[in-house]
């Protein structure tokens, strides 16, 4: 490569990345540092009082705030629900549909369809479906004569509300997990299954000793997706289980609590402290990803 060409490449290289870098600095780098900065202040926003430095008070305040802990707990419940049911259902659907039984396109498209719909609209729709007067679940209760089932409002009962929302989220997202598993299954060479069959392996044995080990990277990708998604859930809970001032304790999660603190009670410092906490949690998937890359390298070797 000539020196002139190399120089021209260098210059245009910077030109090519400049817009992306500029936007990134403006909307990622700056906000991250600014969140950390704001979390050390008491501030009620631009129109309010001037900033007042409070040190770590926002953080210690959060640690003794039971609403914050309940929100975190709901996030963890949410994650538990998804990591078990979404992952296993998605996997089962993928394994069944991958074998192309009669009508597989119908099954695949029906399970994936919710993934393309706006989460906010999904939430509004299910909020109406859960109405005890209309819900098919309550209808079922009336038919078989179970009074408790006929009368219960799963969304209004604080004991069940977070699970009621979770079911909706599972409905919305399982198709994505399934599609990723199907893509993973298609990447496995058919000879693998063929040789397992010739060796006389049963379907279960093939699944256990061939499919699942080979799909390990896909499991990891799905796990990271679910982990990131579950700690970022906002739209669904906000539209399904919130009143004017935000979701009650039973359904509050970190992101909705952050939103309430920032835009309803106007405590930008506290909101920023929650944001920093979310940033720290977000490093967990990064660590998992690093592990996965090691798995990939092992697979290559």
């Amino acid at each position: 490569m000539s020196e002139a060409l190399r120089r021209s490449q260098k210059i245009s290289g910077y030109g090519f990345i400049a817009p992306a870098v500029a936007i990134y600095v403006l909307t990622f780098i700056f906000p991250i540092f600014y969140t950390v900065f704001l979390s050390l202040f008491a501030w009620r926003g631009v129109a309010g009082t001037p900033m007042e430095y409070v040190g770590l008070a926002n953080y210690t305040g959060l640690l003794s705030d039971s609403f914050f802990w309940d929100s975190l707990e709901n996030n963890i419940i949410w994650f538990g629900l998804h990591v078990t049911i979404q992952l296993s259902l998605g996997f089962i659907f993928a394994v069944l549909i991958y074998e192309r039984p009669r009508g597989w396109l119908i099954y695949r498209n029906a399970v994936f369809m919710p993934v393309v719909i706006s989460v906010a609209v999904v939430g509004m729709m299910f909020q109406k479906i859960y109405n005890p007067l209309l819900s098919p679940i309550n209808e079922l209760g009336r038919i078989i004569g179970w009074e408790w089932l006929a009368k219960s409002g799963f969304l209004s009962n604080p004991q069940t509300a977070i699970y009621a929302c979770g079911v909706v989220s599972l409905w919305r997202w399982t198709g994505l997990t399934m599609v990723l598993f199907i893509a993973g299954l298609q990447a496995i060479s058919p000879e693998m299954f063929e040789s397992a069959r010739i060796c006389g392996a049963t379907r279960w044995q093939t699944l256990r000793h061939v499919t699942i080990p080979l799909l390990k990277p896909i499991f990891a990708v799905n796990l990271v997706n679910i982990l990131t998604g579950c700690f970022q859930v906002f739209d669904l809970i906000w539209v399904m289980a919130s009143i004017e001032t935000g979701p009650p304790r039973a359904t509050s999660v970190l992101s909705t609590y952050l939103y309430v603190e920032a835009f309803k009670t106007h405590s930008l410092g506290v909101a920023s402290a929650i944001g920093v906490f979310e940033l720290l949690i977000a490093f967990i998937p990064v660590l998992i990803l690093l592990r996965v890359m090691k798995i990939h390298q092992l697979a290559w070797r």
Binding site: S12, A20, P114, V116, V121, M125, K128, E139, I218, L254
Partner: protein, 286 residues
Amino acid sequence: MRVKITRNTLIRLLTEYPFLWLATLLGIFPLYWLISNSLKTEAALFANPLAPPSWPVVTGNWLNAWAGGPVNTPLIRPLLNSIGLTFSAVALILIISSAAGYAFSRFQIYGGNLIFSFIIMGLSVPIHATLVPLVVLYNFIGILDTYFALLLTFVAVNLPFSVLLMRAYFVSIPEEIAESARIDGASEVRTFWSIMLPVARPGLITMAIMNFLFVWNDFLYSYTLVSSREFWTLPRAVYAFVGVYGLFSFTSLLAGMAIAVAPTLIIYFIFSKQLISGVAAGALKG
């Protein structure tokens, strides 16, 4: 042997198919519920929410929702906002991230790898963690409550993923293709625009699909960054209907949601194959 096969087939017929059909039913049911009930009178809805609408269907709910009902926000403006924002955001992301992805894959940039990994780290930044600073920033530069606030944020949020995807795509294209263009005396920009971009079309389509879904379905940002009705997107406008429930018939509310869902469903029915493979490719590469 023969007995065994039939027994296996029987087991599959009795377990797998009912399971798959149940899943299909559960996948479709909520949308059936929404659309069929939006075509009924309120009385018919409360009489039996599961029954299909009687013929002729009630179109008044859809017209009522389309006209904006009691919130007085006809849905035409939010629909056009959604379309316009989605198209411009996706176009911008395509250009910006493919240029950056190309540069990261080909050019000697001082600290290029470091900059690239910094941008990739953005993938793990929770979108709420940067929300407060963004509002303060946008307020400071005077774009809060404008289209620019939404556009810039949509581009930004999808940037790390898109750059990663495009870089991976350009890495897989043989260097000789760009080389031959350079020998013909094409400039770097020209090589990129008229040689590399067309070659990278499948990658661009994957990325466009992923970004389309994100931008079109966004609720958080149009709820936070804009407050004036003129900038509302479709999901945001329909959410306003929920707020005034009581002034608005239940069935009209459902019709509003159906209107918000309809465009994505139509696109899904036409492009389901591309959508599914695009989403899978995008998520697995990213």
